[in-house]
């Protein structure tokens, strides 16, 4: 058993690390490093779930860690990486409304707003512990940062990564606030995978002519033309 104080400190370190990855996702223009950072962010979430297991001993946390590792560290980044190679987009240099510097500044403001709001509303929660409060605030902040990516980036593929980052925020919030039944967490992840699959397939279409799109879908065995 690791000393609980060390576990708590480690969790804090990972939380800060997660915020840094979220800030990197907001500001970087390189698409392949975006996917890598997302995978690293998800891995940090896996470690947090494992460390929380050390404190709480709930097997659901272990299951969540395994599920997150399989889907968010391995499957989803691999799939997006493959699609990204196929459509040959390397960078996303265009921004709507917000430049990276403004987005980072706004993120800090949002974190403060989330913190103040949480102080107001969390009176009745059964997890008033500092660490859990900190985790929940960072979870919601991450969601808002992910949302900024969706609104400020032009490339749909970057928006998908923003959405995934948001989803990591929701998971983080769930880990610290309460413990939903694992079946629900599992179904949410399945839903996420379907969503990412569909969105990325559609993105291939946005970047192609229609003939090229059909050809690509046929190549990925997602299309058929066998009707009489």
């Amino acid at each position: 058993m690791i000393d609980p104080i060390i576990v708590t400190d480690l969790i804090r370190v990972f939380l800060v690390f997660i915020i840094i990855t979220a800030a990197y996702i907001i500001s970087t223009r390189n698409l392949s490093s975006l996917v890598t950072v997302y995978a690293v962010q998800s891995l940090a979430l896996v470690f947090i779930a494992l460390l929380l297991f050390q404190i709480e001993g709930s097997t659901t946390l272990l299951a969540i860690a395994a599920l997150t590792f399989t889907t968010k560290v391995l499957i989803i980044p691999h799939f997006i990486g493959t699609i990204q190679e196929k459509i040959r987009i390397k960078s996303d240099i265009q921004f709507h409304f917000l430049t990276p510097i403004k987005s980072l500044f706004l993120s800090v403001v949002l974190m403060l707003v989330v913190y103040i709001t949480f102080v107001e509303i969390m009176d009745g929660a059964s997890a008033p512990d500092d660490l859990f409060f900190f985790g929940a605030v960072i979870g919601i902040s991450m969601m808002l940062m992910g949302m900024m990516i969706i609104f400020s980036r032009k490339r749909a593929l970057t928006k998908v990564l923003g959405f995934l980052s948001m989803e990591n925020g929701a998971l983080l919030f769930g880990l610290f606030i309460t413990e939903l039944p694992f079946m629900i967490e599992f179904l949410v992840v399945i839903d996420l995978i379907i969503l990412v699959l569909l969105t990325t397939i559609l993105i291939v279409g946005l970047d192609s002519t229609i003939e090229d799109y059909h050809e690509r879908l046929q190549r990925f065995h997602l299309w058929e033309d066998d009707l009489p």
């Binding site: 059964s126 997890a127 979870g139 959405f163 919030f173 309460t178 058929e224």
Partner: protein, 494 residues
Amino acid sequence: MILLMFLVIALLAFVGLIISRNHRQMNTICMVHSLVFALISVWLILSGKIPITSLAFGSPYFFIDHLGIYEVLICTVIFTCAAVYARGYVDGLLESGELEKGSLRVFYLALTSLLIVMVLTFFAENLAIFWICAELTTIISALLVAILSTRENISAAIKYIFIASTSMLFSFVGITLLFEISRSVTGTGTLSWTALLLQAHSFPTGMMTAAFVLVFIGFAAKSGIFPFHTWLPEAHAKSPSAVSAILSGVLLNVGIYGIIRIYAIVHQTPSLGTASSLLVLFGMLTIGIAAFSMIPEKNLKKLIAFSSVENMGILLIGLAVATPVAIFWVLFHIMAHSFTKASLFFSAGILHRQYRNPLSNEVDDDICNVFRYQPLAAWGIIIGGIAITGMPPFPIFWSKLFILLQVGTVSPLALFAMLFLIFIAAVAFGYFVLTTFTKSSEPDKATDIIRFPTPIGMKLPIILLLLLIFITGVAFTTGEVSFITAIQNELMFS
């Protein structure tokens, strides 16, 4: 075993679609599938077995209560009409090359999946299961929006996914919070609608308000409430009309259904005041945005889509008032709006086939000599327009009237604001019909237009739905009243 029956029938439909070889077979399977679902729903209602709180299969995550079966009935009627309509309509899309043959099976598989997921959504007893099913409806319907695979359609589908799913993540956080609230009060957390409704009176105000706001964001996006409404006009306008009817008549109901359920829970708590103010504010803004967007609109399907946004706003305000009378007419309005809107989209689909306006394009509708070429569709738009703007003897007249009267008892100012905005929306609709339907083609171009031979299958759903809304507008049976009252009782609004 009822839920299992729905699932087995859906599975049979999937298998049938996979082995079928042509459009006619696929369409027949889809039609039979929807019709059987509709008949089961009618049988369940007439049998008097509702509510079924403990299903042999699917318990405790699913149940069938009055609100659930009511929504399923609306949903299956519209799906059946859409399936009948799709036979001729999809043939037209295939002929014009707007829909690829390769997409046909995907189209019907998506339609069949959407129906079963919708049924599961409305039968979900657990808030998280409902959330997952609602998310699945977004994914499947986005696929249907993108089915024509033009860049514009794909773009509309992606916009829809991002707005709806991003907002639904906030709902998920709200649901997590709600679970924690329930756990902090009872010791064991729950997301069961029924249990939450019974426990709600002891929920802490601050956290309950926060949970409601978060859950509301997601469901508001699903139902096209301002400021999350921007996906709706594009997705409705660019989808094939059979899909537009389902999006407007059924999919928007998913969001409103979620809001009704969560509001029923908040209704038992001290957070009610904040929640109802929020609903009034967003409801009013939604009606306002929709009404003013309708004025310059020159695309018929977009106009009808904005009218859906307006009606969602009316539902929110009716819900906020929350008197038994207001809730009764909100529930009635859901049905009336669904049937009327589906009939309007079906009529618009015929006009699109006639005037060959590609669904994906942004240009104004070029409609002329409409009574010569497509009299049924023209009358469908006129009668449907009269119905949707709230004229007697159609059901929306009654629901709007009583919702407005109830709003008046709470705030005369809100009543006048609503009346003004509803009037603007009605004028915008009337202006569009007057200017478009009175247009004649230039004499030298008159012979260029070839009359689209509208198949009977495309006419039948319009006639059926118009008859249905006329009958529901003039005849209130005691069964109908007691059924809607039972929904109110179950939601503890009475």
